[in-house]
C-alpha cells in the first residue's frame, strides 16, 4: 500500500509537471495577464509536495524492509543497520533518480513561492522550462525505472548486505553531487526562460546567481570529498585519477565556475548576455552528460548485468531533447538578444572574460579527453587517456587563468589601466619569480610542480590584496567569499604541486624490529598480527613512526579480506601533521618473516582538500551575503511602498 501511494503520487506529480509546462508556455505566449498564468505557480508547488511525498514513501518501504518491493529486495537486507537501510533508498539507480526529481521539484517550489524579481513573463517561461525538464525525468522513472515495482512473490531476504557499500561516505557523497546538478538545472531553466522572452537582464542574473552559487558549493564539496575518499580508500596514494566518473563531476564544476563569474558580470554591468545564457545551458548539459556516461556504461565496460542499454538510450534521448532544444533555441534567439554593455580589455570584465575563456578551454580539454576513447572505439581502437594528456594540456590554460585571477579582482569595472595597480602586480610578480628561483635552487623539481609552487605563493598574497586599504568590518560578505575561494585555490594548488614535487616514496621489506626511512620519518615495524572485524579478517601491521626523532606514533595499516563477497582491500594508515601526511600501507609477505611496507611522505598534501573546503566556504559566504542583501533590498522596497501608500492615503483624505 505504501509503495502504491508513492507511485500514485509520482504519477500525479508528473501530471502536474505537464500542467506547469502547458500553463507556463501558454502564459508566456499570450503575454501579460493570461488566466492560465495563475495556475503555474500552484502547480509547481503542489508538484514539489507530491514528489517529496513519493520519496518519503520510498524511504519508508526501505525503513521497514518491505521485500515485496523489487528495489528493496535487490538493495536492502533485514539485518542492515537502519542508517544504511535509509541510505539504501537512494544508493541505487531508481532511488537516486527519484531523489533527483524530488530535489528538482522542491527547487521549483522555492522559485515559484519566493522569486519575485523577474518580469512575470520570464518567470512563466522559466517555470515552464522547469516543468519540461522535470517531465522528462518523471517519464524516465515511470516508464523505465519504476522504484516502486512489486515482485510477484515477495523475496525471502534482500540481496544487499555488501559490506563494502556500508560506508557513510558512500551514502552521502552522491546526494551532495546531485544537489549540485539540480541547482544547475534551475540555472538552465532560468537561462531558457530568459532566452524565450529575450529578457536577459541584470535582474535575471541576480535571480539565477544564488542557484549557481549553491550548486557550485555542493559540487565543490562533492569533488573534494570524492577525491579524499579515493585517496585513503584505494591505497595508491593518489588523489585524482582522471577517471571518467571523476571527470563527470569535474566538468559541471568547471562550467559552473565560469557561469558564476559571467553571471557576476551580467548582474553588475549588464554585459556578457549571450555568453551567460550559453554557460547556463552548458553547465546543466555537463551534469546530464556526466549522468549519461556513468549510467549508460558506454565508457566503463562494466559487465552486462549492471548496465541497461535501454536506460542509456533513454538518458541519451532526454539529453538530445533538452540540450539539443536549448542549443537550437540559443542559435535562433541569441542573435536577437540585445548586445550588452561594452567594456575595455583592461577592466574587471576583461579579466573575467579571460577567466571564462580559459575555464571553457579547460572544460573542452577534459571533455575531449573523456570522450576520446568513445570516439576511437567507434573505429575499433581502444585507448585510455590519462594524466600524460590531462596534466600538461590542462596546465597550458590553467596557468594563464590563475595569473589573471591574481590581477582581475584588483581592477575596476568597465575601464581601468594596469598602470593603476602596477605596484600590486609588481609585488605578485616578484613573489612568483622569487619562489621560482628559490624552489629551483633548493631541489630538482619538474616543470609543472615548479610552476605550481611558485604560482601558489603569489596567488595566496594576491587573493588577499582586494582587502587592502578597506575597513575589514565593512567589507561585504560576498567579497570575503571571493577572497576565501581564491585563497583556497592557491592553497589547493600548493598542496597539489608540493605533493607531486616532494613526495618521498619508500618500499621496504621489513622484519619485525627493523625500520625504514621516508623523508623526515623513521618507521619501525613492531609486529604483524591477524585481527578480525564483524565481516572481515585482516593482517595488521603495527608501525612506530617518529618524525625527526620525536615521540613515536603508532600506525596500524591493514590488508583486509572480506568474506561475502570475497574481496581484498587495503586500509591505509595516516599520520597527519600540519605540513603533510605519512601514508602507510601493508603489502604482501616478502618471505623469511619479512613484510612489504609501503610508505609515502606527502608534504602538504592535506592542503589540497583544506583548500577545496575553503573554496566551498567562500561560496557559502558569498551565497549568504547575496541572499541577505536581497532580503534587505526587499524589505526596503516594501517599506518604501508602505510609506507611499500611507502618503497617498493622507492626500486622498479630504482635509477638514
Amino acid at each position: 500500500m505504501i509503495a502504491e501511494l508513492g507511485l500514485a503520487a509520482l504519477w500525479l506529480a508528473a501530471a502536474l509537471a505537464a500542467l506547469q509546462l502547458v500553463c507556463g508556455a501558454l502564459a508566456t505566449h499570450a503575454g501579460e495577464g493570461h488566466d492560465l498564468a495563475l495556475l503555474t505557480r500552484p502547480a509547481a508547488i503542489l508538484q514539489g509536495g507530491l514528489a517529496a511525498f513519493s520519496f518519503a514513501m520510498l524511504v519508508w518501504v526501505f525503513a521497514i524492509t518491505d521485500l515485496s518491493v523489487k528495489l528493496v529486495a535487490a538493495n536492502s537486507h533485514a539485518m542492515k543497520p537502519l542508517v544504511f537501510k535509509l541510505a539504501g533508498a537512494w544508493g541505487n539507480h531508481e532511488g537516486s533518480m527519484l531523489l533527483w526529481v524530488t530535489v528538482m521539484a522542491l527547487a521549483g517550489v522555492l522559485i515559484a513561492a519566493v522569486e519575485r524579481r523577474l518580469p512575470e513573463r520570464t518567470m512563466q517561461a522559466t517555470l515552464a522550462a522547469q516543468g519540461f525538464v522535470a517531465l522528462g525525468f518523471y517519464a524516465f522513472l515511470l516508464l523505465s525505472s519504476n522504484p516502486f515495482e512489486r515482485l510477484p512473490i515477495p523475496a525471502a531476504e534482500g540481496m544487499g548486505l555488501n559490506p563494502l557499500l556500508q560506508d557513510l561516505g558512500l551514502a552521502f557523497h552522491p546526494p551532495t553531487l546531485y544537489f549540485g546538478y539540480v541547482g544547475l538545472s534551475v540555472a538552465f531553466s532560468f537561462a531558457v526562460g530568459a532566452l524565450v522572452t529575450r529578457q536577459v537582464t541584470p535582474e535575471f542574473a541576480r535571480a539565477m546567481r544564488p542557484w549557481v552559487l549553491g550548486a557550485w558549493v555542493f559540487l565543490t564539496l562533492g569533488i573534494t570529498a570524492g577525491s579524499y575518499w579515493a585517496y585513503y580508500e584505494l591505497g595508491w596514494g593518489g588523489w585524482w585519477f582522471w577517471d571518467p566518473v571523476e571527470n563527470a563531476s569535474l566538468m559541471p564544476w568547471l562550467a559552473a565556475t565560469a557561469l558564476l563569474h559571467s553571471a557576476g558580470v551580467l548582474a553588475a554591468r549588464d554585459a556578457l548576455r549571450a555568453w551567460t545564457i550559453m554557460l547556463g545551458v552548458v553547465a546543466f548539459s555537463m551534469s546530464m552528460l556526466g549522468t549519461f556516461l556513468v549510467r549508460s556504461g558506454i565508457l566503463t565496460s562494466v559487465h552486462a548485468f549492471a548496465v541497461d542499454p535501454e536506460r542509456g538510450s533513454f538518458i541519451l534521448a532526454l539529453l538530445a531533447i533538452y540540450i539539443g532544444g536549448a542549443l537550437l533555441l540559443f542559435a535562433l534567439r541569441a542573435g536577437t538578444v540585445a548586445e550588452g554593455e561594452r567594456f575595455a580589455v583592461a577592466s574587471r570584465e576583461g579579466a573575467l572574460v579571460v577567466n571564462n575563456v580559459m575555464l571553457s578551454a579547460v572544460l573542452a580539454i577534459v571533455l575531449l579527453g573523456t570522450l576520446y576513447p568513445l570516439l576511437t572505439e567507434a573505429f575499433d581502437v581502444r585507448v585510455s587517456v590519462g594524466p600524460p594528456y590531462f596534466n600538461p594540456v590542462g596546465a597550458i590554460f590553467v596557468v594563464p587563468m590563475l595569473l589573471v585571477m591574481a590581477v582581475g579582482p584588483l581592477l575596476r569595472w568597465r575601464q581601468d589601466s594596469l598602470g593603476r595597480v602596477n605596484r600590486e602586480i609588481a609585488l605578485v610578480a616578484a613573489l612568483i619569480l622569487a619562489a621560482l628561483v628559490l624552489v629551483s635552487i633548493v631541489g630538482e623539481v619538474s616543470l609543472l610542480p615548479l610552476i605550481g609552487l611558485s604560482l601558489a605563493g603569489g596567488l595566496a598574497v594576491a587573493s588577499l590584496l582586494p582587502l587592502r586599504g578597506r575597513t575589514l568590518r565593512r567589507v561585504p560578505l560576498a567579497t570575503w567569499g571571493m577572497v576565501a575561494a581564491h585563497f583556497g585555490i592557491a592553497m589547493a594548488l600548493f598542496g597539489m604541486a608540493s605533493d607531486s614535487a616532494f613526495t618521498k616514496e619508500r618500499l621496504a621489506a621489513l622484519e619485525p624490529g627493523q625500520s625504514a626511512e621516508a623523508g623526515p620519518w623513521r618507521v619501525t615495524l613492531d609486529r604483524v598480527e591477524p585481527v578480525a572485524g564483524p565481516n572481515w579478517t585482516a593482517l595488521q601491521a603495527s608501525l612506530s613512526a617518529s618524525y625527526k626523532g620525536g615521540e613515536p606514533i603508532v600506525l596500524t595499516p591493514q590488508a583486509r579480506s572480506f568474506w561475502a563477497p570475497p574481496q581484498q582491500t587495503t586500509e591505509s594508515a595516516l599520520a597527519t601533521r600540519w605540513n603533510g601526511q605519512l601514508y602507510a600501507v601493508i603489502g604482501q609477505e616478502a618471505g623469511r618473516g619479512r613484510w612489504q611496507i609501503r610508505l609515502w611522505w606527502k608534504p602538504f598534501v592535506t592542503w589540497i582538500w583544506l583548500g577545496g573546503m575553503l573554496v566551498a566556504l567562500g561560496g557559502v559566504l558569498a551565497l549568504i551575503g547575496r541572499v541577505l542583501a536581497d532580503l534587505k533590498r526587499r524589505s526596503v522596497t516594501r517599506r518604501a511602498g508602505a510609506r507611499r501608500a500611507e502618503a497617498r492615503a493622507l492626500i486622498a483624505e479630504p482635509a477638514e
Binding site: 552548458v282 558506454i298 559487465h303 548485468f305 538510450s313 540559443f330 541569441a334 542573435g335 561475502a564
Partner: protein
Amino acid sequence: MTRWRLWVPLLLFAGFVGLAGYMLTRPKDEFVESRMVGKELPYFALRPAMAERPGLASADLGTGKPRLLNIFASWCLPCIAEARQLEILAAQGVEIDGIAIRDRPEDVAAFLARHGNPYRRIGADDLSEVQLAIGSSGVPETFVIDGQGRIAYQHIGDIRAEHVPMLLEKLAEAGS
C-alpha cells in the same frame, strides 16, 4: 557575433549524440572473462547443495581426468535452457560437477527433478564466494577443468546445442 557561429554548439552536440547513439546500438563485449583461465583452482570446500549428491571441494576436481564445472542456480532461467545439453554431455561420458549459487536444498532438488540431474557432485555456494573466486560473474557459466585441477576454458552463458561439440573438443584438448 555573427549568426552562423551561434549554430556551432548545436552542431558539436549533434555530433556527440550521433556518436553516442551509434555506440549504444553497437554490441559490446559484455562478458567478463575470468583471469583464472590457465591457473589452478583456488582452494574451496562446499557443503552439499542437496541430499542426493555429495558436496564439492577443490580436491575433487584434479583427479587426472578433465571434467566440467557448471555454475548454476534453480532460480536461473537460462540454466533450464542448457539442462538438455548438459544431459547430452553427461550421456557421452563427460563428468560434470555443479555449484549451486545462492540456493535452497529443496529448490535445487525440485529443479533437478524437473530438468534432469547430470551432476556427480553439487556444492552449495550461498554467498557466491567460490563463484567470484574462480572468476565467474554470472549464471550459468561452465568451466573446463583439466586433470591437474587447472581451469582450461571458460564458457559464459548457457550451453546451446551448437556448443556441445566445441566443449567436447576443449575437454579432449585438456586431456591431452
